[in-house]
């Protein structure tokens, strides 16, 4: 699964939906792999406004990836900053999680990731 998916996933437990701590889920023991994608500045520029930047920064920090600026860069500043473009391209488009777990900070539930697919099916008592 692309690391970017974490910007859209939350804890599946119903009672956690009302807590802000259930997003983003926190990577645990995650194995990262990198695809190689041709530069795509259009895609990158248009993905940024669709994201929760704070959540993205949190994940980057937790995974010891290059620190992100405080706010999402505008297309203009992105065009001027080659290193930032490279870092974002790598983080958002190329980085995948192949194995590991995602943890909810609200209830502690852990979702396993196996062969790049995260399992959000809940045991009966949590549905």
């Amino acid at each position: 699964m692309k690391l970017l998916t974490l910007n859209f996933l939350t804890c599946a437990v119903k009672t956690c939906k009302s807590s802000s701590a259930s997003f983003p889920l926190h990577p645990k023991n995650c194995e990262l792999v990198s695809d190689t994608l041709a530069p795509n500045p259009k895609l990158l520029a248009n993905i940024l406004p669709r994201l929760d930047w704070a959540a993205l920064s949190t994940i980057a920090l937790e995974l010891n990836l290059p620190t992100l600026p405080e706010n999402a860069p505008s297309p203009e500043s992105l065009a001027e900053n080659e290193q930032l473009t490279k870092d974002l391209h790598s983080l958002l488009l190329e980085t995948q999680i192949s194995e590991g777990a995602l943890v909810c900070a609200n209830c502690g539930h852990e979702y396993a990731i196996k062969e790049g697919i995260a399992n959000f099916l809940l045991p009966n008592h949590l549905v």
């Binding site: 699964m1 692309k2 970017l4 998916t5 859209f8 996933l9 939350t10 599946a12 119903k14 939906k17 997003f23 795509n40 259009k42 895609l43 520029a45 248009n46 993905i47 940024l48 406004p49 669709r50 929760d52 505008s74 297309p75 488009l93 995948q96 979702y111 396993a112 062969e115 790049g116 697919i117 995260a118 399992n119 959000f120 099916l121 809940l122 045991p123 009966n124 549905v127």
Partner: protein, 268 residues
């Protein structure tokens, strides 16, 4: 006519094989009307402050073989008028999740070898409906539900189930999850409806849901319109005149901006 993505690598003993319902979705989403609606709603050029509008997020619930999400992913430029779309899917069937990733990969490769564009695929997640998605995550939701009326609803797989070597019973169970809809064939679809207002993006979210005649589509559309004046529900595709429960239709659900109170009073 856009070609149907190949699903020749998919094990149909345990994964739903594309059928009339799948093809109706493909035909409807790529037909002139929907292309016009989607291209306008997600117009590349209508962002704020002169920027381009954000990349649309397309999510399919219950991807099965992956034929539908792969189609939207590969032909994004044709259908949405832009290739910078984010695609992803969920399914309760782990084999379906794996198969979908392969189907998308193959469809994407077909595009790149012809130097054609395609979307950006995040992967598939093993999950029940929209339970794993944050609020407002989805711009375009697509769902071909288990719509067949059945006396019982099959149980969802739980994480304790090991599916390394599926038995005939395991396979039957997985397939039943793809078609068995319980009472009126609507039990799962209704659960999705409960979450649609939360998961669709406020400004441009929309959903395409497939229904059969026995699901009572007229009543379904009424129910959605009763969610509020901003909610719309219309039939945008149908399988034509066929007898019995196989008569299928696609409904589109979306929000429009609330009509100002003064307008309502004037038309009363």
């Amino acid at each position: 006519m856009l070609p149907t993505p190949s699903t020749s690598h998919v094990a149909f003993e345990r994964i739903y094989e594309p059928a009339e319902d799948s093809y109706l979705l493909l035909d409807t989403l790529s037909a002139q009307n929907e292309k016009a609606f989607l291209s306008e709603r997600f117009n590349y050029n209508t962002g704020t402050m002169g920027q381009h509008s954000p990349a649309p997020v397309v999510f399919e619930i219950g991807t099965g073989s992956g034929v539908v999400i792969a189609f939207l992913h590969a032909f994004a430029e044709v259908i949405f008028g832009r290739a910078d779309i984010i695609t992803s899917g969920v399914d309760v069937n782990s084999y379906a999740c794996k198969a979908t990733e392969e189907t998308v990969k193959v469809a994407e490769k077909d595009q790149t070898t012809q130097t054609e564009s395609h979307g950006f695929y995040l992967g598939n997640t093993l999950a029940d409906l929209t339970s794993c998605l944050k609020s407002g995550a989805v711009d375009i939701l697509v769902f071909n539900p288990p719509y067949v009326p059945t006396p019982e609803l099959p149980a969802l797989p739980t994480i304790s189930e090991k599916l390394e070597q599926p038995s005939y019973e395991d396979d039957s169970h997985l397939l039943s999850l793809s078609y068995a809809g319980g009472a009126d064939g609507m039990e799962t679809t209704n659960r999705l409806f409960d979450d649609i207002p939360r998961v669709l993006s406020k400004d441009r979210g929309c959903a395409y849901i497939l229904l059969c005649a026995q699901n009572n589509p007229t009543e379904v559309k009424e129910r959605i319109r009763n969610w509020g004046t901003e909610w719309m529900a219309e039939t945008v595709g149908s399988s034509g005149k066929k007898a019995g429960w196989e008569k299928l239709q696609i409904i589109r659900i979306w929000r429009v901006e609330k009509i100002a109170n003064s307008n309502l009073r004037a038309s009363a």
